[in-house]
């Protein structure tokens, strides 16, 4: 199977479980192939967990789920050193982060300290514990979920931390007929459990390497940079997109091109990805330091900005 066919097969596989959301599936694959992490921001019960689960299932990768609560400690994620009486030595018991795909549920429910331990692991792809480093196995991808509706007792992630996520997605409610289908297939089994793995971990890594070879034309890079620059100059934003953000957009665009079976990027790739890759990296200008969330607003601002930038012809 060529890479294009493989990717299509995975999409179809997941689509058997997540009904009517091809876009979300495509984007999560993009995040995977771009070696990025995914932040799903949505109300509970729309299939965030199922998405992560089925992605992991189709890939023949290890999958761990961490439910974030206010009493979760960093060691609950990273792992602990335990004194082994037989060996008279400390032994490192790896935490759930040592998996290929990690689902971090309700990430904003835990304390900033715990959050940062996860985020460090995400950016470094390794764990430092007691002066030892433990590399994480590639592919490594964190799918974090966050519930925007609740604020009681939550610790929203700061922008600098959000930057670690490649993209922020919403799943949204399914269309009525799709929802009906979900209800109809009342299976006792978790739907994701039925999926068969299509790729091994090493094949995923190979695909990730292919992303780097996707060609991006010079004028397209210019286009991408002018989008980024416009966020820095915009009156609406108090914080524009960083260089890391530009890099992320470029990588995501390449991954999207690969997912769509192309070996080169198009302006469409950049344009389509800009809102979901950039919207969580910016700070909407506010008065008196009042932090305000509104996913939609940030996305809309990015979209408006992109609409002012001429596409290279």
């Amino acid at each position: 199977m060529t890479s294009t066919e493989t990717i299509r097969a995975i999409q179809e596989n997941i689509a058997r479980v997540i009904k009517g959301k091809p876009h979300v599936i495509e984007m999560s694959l993009v995040a995977l192939l771009a070696r990025g992490h995914l932040l799903l921001e949505d109300v509970p019960g729309v299939g965030k967990t199922t998405l992560a689960h089925s992605l992991a299932r189709s890939l023949d990768c290890s999958f761990k789920r961490i439910q974030f609560t206010s009493d979760l400690l960093p060691s609950d994620i990273v792992g602990v050193s335990i004194f082994n009486r037989q060996k008279q030595a400390f032994e490192f018991i790896p935490g759930p982060i040592f998996a290929n795909i990690v689902l971090a549920d309700e990430i904003n429910r835990t304390t900033p300290k715990t959050q940062s331990s996860l985020l460090e692991a995400m950016s470094e792809a390794q764990i430092s514990f007691d002066n030892k480093t433990y590399p994480l196995n590639p592919p490594f991808m964190v799918i974090a979920t966050q519930n925007p509706a609740e604020y009681h007792g939550t610790f929203p992630l700061p922008e600098s931390q959000l930057d670690r996520f490649l993209m922020r997605l919403r799943i949204g409610y399914p269309a009525p007929e799709e929802e009906k289908k979900v209800l109809e297939r009342a299976s006792s089994l978790h739907p994701a459990e039925e999926l068969l793995p299509l790729l091994t971990a090493s094949e995923v890594v190979q695909l990730q390497d292919q992303v780097d070879k996707v060609f991006m034309e010079e004028s397209l890079t210019e286009y991408l940079l002018s989008i980024v620059r416009s966020t820095r100059q915009s009156e609406l934003l108090s914080l524009g997109v960083s260089t890391r953000g530009a890099l992320a957009l470029s990588r995501a665009a390449k991954a999207l091109a690969l997912v769509r079976g192309r070996s080169y990027c198009l302006p469409d790739d950049v344009k389509e990805l800009a809102p979901i890759v950039l919207s969580h990296r910016i700070m909407v200008a506010r008065q008196a330091g009042l932090h305000q969330r509104s996913f939609e607003q940030a996305e809309r601002i990015i979209r408006d900005l992109v609409d002012t930038i001429p596409v290279p012809v």
């Binding site: 206010s70 602990v80 604020y151 008196a288 009042l290």
Partner: protein
């Protein structure tokens, strides 16, 4: 919010108006004079000049209309504004015409009652292009700010007439009371009151509170392995509960009309206190007149409280309202404890020059704000 002008004609004309500029007036006077001269003498060349001037007027009208046609305007406005603090309002205007550019546009927001806001200009807007424009607005009144639409005007092409188009676009934003730094003395009073109440106790958290020997039933996750190894005894690490301080801010609204400005200052003071305490991690309840919020923490809660203060109204004092506004006696009434901060703009018969602040029933003398 995008608003596209409906295509049918009567709507188009309802939102248009034309005014003449001073240059235009001079032009018209000249045209009139030439017209009179032409009729008097019957000189056809005068008629030719007159025809030229009339055609310029006609072209003016047509070009201006095309200039204002098919534009799309959006407004980006922050959800919360603060009294007397400048805010940037952004207007995005897009030229939806396929070929013709628009020139010399001036945009300005129109508020309730035709109040006009600062004007922003665009020199040229090529077809298919959108531009972001911003202006600074300093709200001068607490409460709801109503923006009814955007007025576009242009003097294009000849500067003889100003043509205006009105794009209705309703936006209501809340203007919060002014936030100012709170005076040192007041803060000391606050923290002094709060300190007594804040207790270090065991609980969930991340700060170390104590180490003790393992007891059956303890969570194995909290074994402190380093100490256990050192002492060869299973040692448990206890954490300190997250600090939870509570405050109730009470603002009395029954103030006579004569004390209107005083009331505004009191509202502003209350808002500043809310902001300040929220930042220091207090869980806050706000009582405005008879209204009560829940206890809460975090930005969203703070926002809600500010909104409450933004929209509160002064009411004339009556016996009943005085009763309701009556100071809640002692701490007993408040479950779970907490500091009670009362902000009063009017203290009955005795006139006071500044809003009074009482913390747990004690009057904090002196200025409310940092000087």
């Amino acid at each position: 919010m995008p608003f596209q002008l409906p295509s049918f004609a009567h709507r188009v004309f309802r939102y248009r108006s034309t005014r003449i500029t001073s240059e235009g007036l001079q032009f018209l006077i000249f045209a009139l004079a030439i017209g009179i001269a032409a009729i008097n003498t019957g000189n056809n060349l005068f008629y030719l000049l007159l025809a030229m001037m009339l055609s310029l007027i006609l072209i003016s009208g047509i070009a201006a209309e095309y200039c204002l046609r098919r534009l799309e305007v959006r407004r980006h406005i922050p959800d919360l504004l603060f009294l007397n603090s400048p805010v940037t309002i952004v207007l995005a205007v897009k030229n939806r015409k396929s070929r013709l550019p628009s020139f010399s546009l001036a945009l300005c927001d129109v508020g309730e009652g035709q109040a006009v806001f600062p004007q922003v200009d665009i020199h040229a807007l090529p077809p298919g292009v959108s531009r972001l424009l911003s202006y600074q607005l300093i709200p001068t009144r607490r409460g709801r700010l109503h923006l009814s639409g955007v007025r576009l005007s242009t003097e294009f092409p000849f500067g003889l007439f100003t043509k205006r188009a009105f794009y209705p676009m309703d936006d209501v934003v809340v203007v919060c009371p002014e936030l100012r730094p709170v005076s040192e003395r007041l803060l000391q009073g606050l923290f002094a009151a709060g300190y007594e109440q804040a207790v270090h106790r065991r609980g969930h958290g991340s700060e170390l509170y104590n180490l003790r020997l393992y007891q059956a039933g303890d969570d194995s996750r909290s074994i402190h392995w380093l100490t256990t190894a050192r002492t060869s005894q299973l040692t448990i690490r206890e954490t300190e509960a997250e600090e939870q301080r509570r405050a109730i801010i009470h603002l009395s609204t029954s103030v006579p009309a004569s004390h209107d400005t005083m009331f505004e200052r009191a509202v502003s003071l209350a808002a500043s206190l809310v902001q300040h305490l929220a930042r220091h991690g207090y869980s806050i309840q706000l009582r405005v007149g008879s209204e009560r919020s829940s206890f809460g923490q975090g930005d969203a809660h703070g926002l809600e409280l500010l909104r409450m203060l933004a929209l509160c109204q002064r009411s004339d004092p009556t016996a009943e309202s005085m009763q309701q506004d009556e100071w809640p006696d002692g701490h007993a009434e408040i479950e779970g404890g907490g500091t009670v901060v009362a902000v009063q703009a009017w203290c009955g018969a005795g006139a006071c020059e500044l809003p009074r602040v009482l913390i747990d029933g004690e009057l904090i003398p002196g200025a409310a704000y940092a000087t």
